[in-house]
Symmetry: C2
Subunit: 415 residues, 2 copies
Amino acid sequence: MSVGIRHDDLRRRNRAMVIAAVRRAGQPSRTEIAATTSLSHSTISAISSDLIVEGILTESKPSEAGSLKRGRPQVGLSLNPEAAAVMTVVLSLNFLSVAVIDYAGQVISEEQRRLDTLTMSRDSLIGECTAIVRRRLEDPDLDVRSIARIALAVQGITDTRARSMLWSPITPHTDIAFADIFEEEFGIPAIMENDCNMMAVALRWRDPDRYRDDFIAILLSHGIGMGLVLKGELFTGTHSSGGEFGHMIHRPNGALCRCGRRGCVEAYAGNYAIWRNARQMGEDAEPVADVSDADMRALAAAARERDGPEREAYRKAGEVLGYGLGSLFALIDPAPVAMVGVSAAAFDLIEPALRQAIAQTAGGQHSKSISFDTEPNELPLIREGCAMRALIFVDQEIFAPGVQARSGFGGKNVA
Amino acid sequence: MSVGIRHDDLRRRNRAMVIAAVRRAGQPSRTEIAATTSLSHSTISAISSDLIVEGILTESKPSEAGSLKRGRPQVGLSLNPEAAAVMTVVLSLNFLSVAVIDYAGQVISEEQRRLDTLTMSRDSLIGECTAIVRRRLEDPDLDVRSIARIALAVQGITDTRARSMLWSPITPHTDIAFADIFEEEFGIPAIMENDCNMMAVALRWRDPDRYRDDFIAILLSHGIGMGLVLKGELFTGTHSSGGEFGHMIHRPNGALCRCGRRGCVEAYAGNYAIWRNARQMGEDAEPVADVSDADMRALAAAARERDGPEREAYRKAGEVLGYGLGSLFALIDPAPVAMVGVSAAAFDLIEPALRQAIAQTAGGQHSKSISFDTEPNELPLIREGCAMRALIFVDQEIFAPGVQARSGFGGKNVA
DNA sequence: CAGTATTTTTTCGAGGCTCGAAAAAATAGG
DNA sequence: CCTATTTTTTCGAGCCTCGAAAAAATACTG
């Protein structure tokens, strides 16, 4: 139910807005902030001087040496890197990666580790995750007390409230309440997010010109995942992280999917499906547990070299992705697409069939105007997204407390 | 870009909130409004006395005769029906319907008319629409000057800004800027919405317990349409009204659809498709222009009577709808569904195959928890949705002017 | 090199809004 | 008729933002 605005909300909201403006712009002057927020100079002056006193912002004296304009020079405001720090934890198939990020978004410290996630017990999976975080927290070089938030990302389905991993292809265990576990273990607020959603968040920060209000990030990896930003907000399901593009049905009773069902998009376009088709193993063949990036690159190389089952496997993947995107476009209209992950590097093998399929669908009329971009490496993106998620939390909940995060305000969702 | 909150926005927003509270609750007392908005009694008192003086609200003395509590009795606030009026225009296949609605939401006056929309020229289609509105405006019984807004709904695709009909199955003509045409013709602000979206808006007002934050309204009529509410907001595409569930691809290169493509959900589940299958005409047969409701009811009766091609046609429709919903649920998670339109009356013939198909998809795990409700008559729903849309506009833009409609505030979208 | 123009930032008083407390209003119970 | 109870209004206090003017900091000009 919508709730009234109290008088004291005003300042808090505008504080949050100033912080957000600085985070977006990097080193804006007070005048620039006044312009983008359409608040008066007096207000910006008052708020920013508060924030500087509190150690949240700092004045970065020489805004830019280049600008030799007449008049008093602008003084840039920037985030004080020491104001806080957050931690990111990215859990993917057989791989765990942790980083500590300062308030300005720079990586301070990191650690990565190979695991056998598919066969580990529930407890040792959780134990490995908490142990690697503990090692970072106890690193003598770091000021432990300043970790304000932990953001986890995992391949798989998480709940809307960002508390639990509900299901994941990387482990047979389900319903692991990572956020609660971490909060109990370390006393630090934690959230648990879907990896592809974090990719989308990161893309929006990396390239706001291309990825602004509406775009699609698709992970072409062992499985097929999607992060969706619509109207400037991260799209999630009614109960879970949603956006399970890879498990839309391409063909009822079709190829066997890793999820146990049949005919999912992933069962034609995931790495294991491309592998299965390239090896002509048949649609009923049990999906292999993992295909190395090197193997996939070799497959792509073979497909480029000669017209054989490898090339056909990529063509099929493209066709299915195209029909899937077509159905998606029927719902949300066309939007720019970022293809991420190892098979995005083989997008040249995928694109022709993909475009041909889209042309047969509701998205067809705009087929040519749909832009595709590729980014082979998903891990840095996921980490960046987690970092931004956690930092925005600090911005809003710690440095502008009391603002009820409400949709549409300061970018609750995507930030 | 998010914009700061000015000091004078405060009052305007809280005014809008009080109006919204009254519209939702019917006859709330000041105390109840204070409770739901969490504003102080003093503020509510000040705002509501303003609104009463301005003739927007009225005090309805005897709140309820029943409540014989101790203490000063509550005095209910209600919308003043004479504060404004709006007009709704619903254009569907071969049918045009107009109504004038008072500020409290009651129909004051209406007119309906049969047309041959498929064969009419562009100009006569527009002409018929403006003529019927003009007749209502010039009705001597009505206070013409008080029409504050016209809301149109049409089967088909409209643009996100609610200005134009981009494409519609009811006419060969495209890109008709109805909103602009009406504004120019009558000098009254107008919007052009998608019919199924208005159904969803209406369902939310009719039954907020069942249809609150997340639900799906599906129109089973000559074509298949959908209105979707997610997280309390009406879902629309990036450029158009979106949600073209009927044109998701069920089977590449499948049955011929009215849209000219192949394999769309509609090409198996629309009235014309059920008709075509029941008559065993083959998937390539040109879709018939219209099937009367009586014919469809006869078809359903035949299907109930004996196991023949009619029953199989409904089964097929259910199967395809089920796989389509399954794909939709992969994206948004399961949610309550309202089946609307003449074929919703045959939902008993559709449901078994539909549920069986959903069970094969990502929605399957929650198959039993998905609730279906049916409503055979779409027209009243569409009109109600239009009326609410228009009235909310009056609430926000006319009676609480200056509030930049921003998402998440006071229900910009669904209201 | 001093003075002027220009631009940014801060200061200060005015006006407006919400809040809490207290008063006023309106009814049931005894 | 008086008291208890609940709703609604009144009133002063405290904030917040705004506009205007002042202050600050630099480039230009002769």
